[in-house]
Symmetry: C2
């Protein structure tokens, strides 16, 4: 049933978490069967697209019946790599870093927060949810010795590339970057950016075009 996933487009991948979120909701409401048509109404994607998306990974459905909610939820989790745990560190223990470490849903999804790092002496040594804020000097060593998978960068844009280099030297596998910068990392290190100002500027564009539309 499993196909070659190696050339799935990112557009498909980015829809999977939304499918999974709605499937979770269905499970919470004790609904065990769903058709692409019903999922379409919930998610706003077309039924055709949903069937296409899922079929990239195998035939999870059954003709005349639809999809089993539990099974599909589990399969999507596996595709996304959520059937395992990830060792994680947060670099930058300011408000954003703290927001992430306090958002326990990430832990529940398997992203284990092992340490935070900062340069601010006032923060070093503190603990948040039992997670210690360490001196940023120890980052590379800690990442290497603890086989950390993911580094979450919550520093200024000035520090971000320096931190990324340290993470890479410590053999990090992926970087989740919140700094407003385009980081340079080797091909084998996966990079996912959250560029907040790009998102905010998109909203301001939408407001502008909305008000222009109203003038018509």
């Amino acid at each position: 049933m499993e196909r070659d996933h190696s050339k799935i487009s990112m557009a498909v991948i980015r829809r999977l978490p939304k499918y999974r979120r709605y499937l979770e909701e269905l499970l919470n409401n004790d609904i065990h069967r769903i058709s692409s048509n019903e999922l379409s109404k919930m998610t706003g994607f077309t039924a055709s697209q949903i069937r296409q998306d899922l079929n990239n990974f195998g035939g999870f459905g059954q003709q005349g019946y639809g999809y089993n909610v539990e099974a599909l939820y589990e399969e999507i989790g596996k595709i996304l790599g959520l059937d395992r745990e990830y060792e994680t560190v947060i670099v930058g223990a300011g408000n954003l870093g703290q927001a992430i470490v306090n958002y326990t849903n990430f832990e529940k999804s398997g992203f284990k927060m092992r340490a935070m790092f900062d340069v601010n002496p006032k923060l070093i040594g503190l603990k948040i949810r039992d997670i210690e804020i360490k001196d940023a000097d120890e980052l590379e060593t800690f990442v290497r010795e603890n086989n950390i998978d993911i580094g979450i960068i919550c520093t200024t844009k000035e520090q971000a590339q320096i931190v990324a280099d340290q993470l890479v030297r410590g053999n990090i596998r992926g970087i989740w970057n919140f700094a407003p910068a385009d980081l340079q990392v080797p091909d084998h290190v996966m990079l996912e950016n959250v560029h907040l100002s790009e998102s905010l500027f998109t909203l301001s564009y939408l407001l502008k075009s909305q008000s222009e539309d109203e003038e018509r």
Copy 2:
């Protein structure tokens, strides 16, 4: 020179902030002229795409010369609606709300933070950067009376739709939503989501497919 912007694709819009960011960098380095080819090398987009993108909005360049950095920077700012100020409130004064209010770059870009709101009595009355945390009960009235443009939702997913409804009743124009939920808002209210877990799950997918590739 100005064209009808009403049917520009979102793919184009979401590239504009990146162009603008690199143009700002050029300005800081006193570079006043840039070709689509050089911009291509910096941003990673093709030169052809850059010229196509910019030509959606008018001919900002000059044959044989390229683009004037200042002028292009300004134009992109105008297109994105960054040539004006926005009245903004943050709902939810936890770490994430505080991270946003403390990130002063948004203020510099014209997004004026006028108040924060929370239900937690321990937070109500406190001030962050001179911005007061108010009782969430006052949200709708405050938004209406102060002509707030943008509401930033940093609450739990359970509270998010309730807050969105209050913002809408207060005549909000746009919502920047950080809660992991798909909010229902009327068509005239613009909605931009930052779904952090979707981004993190995408990273975990990338890690998984990267390790599968290595096995080959």
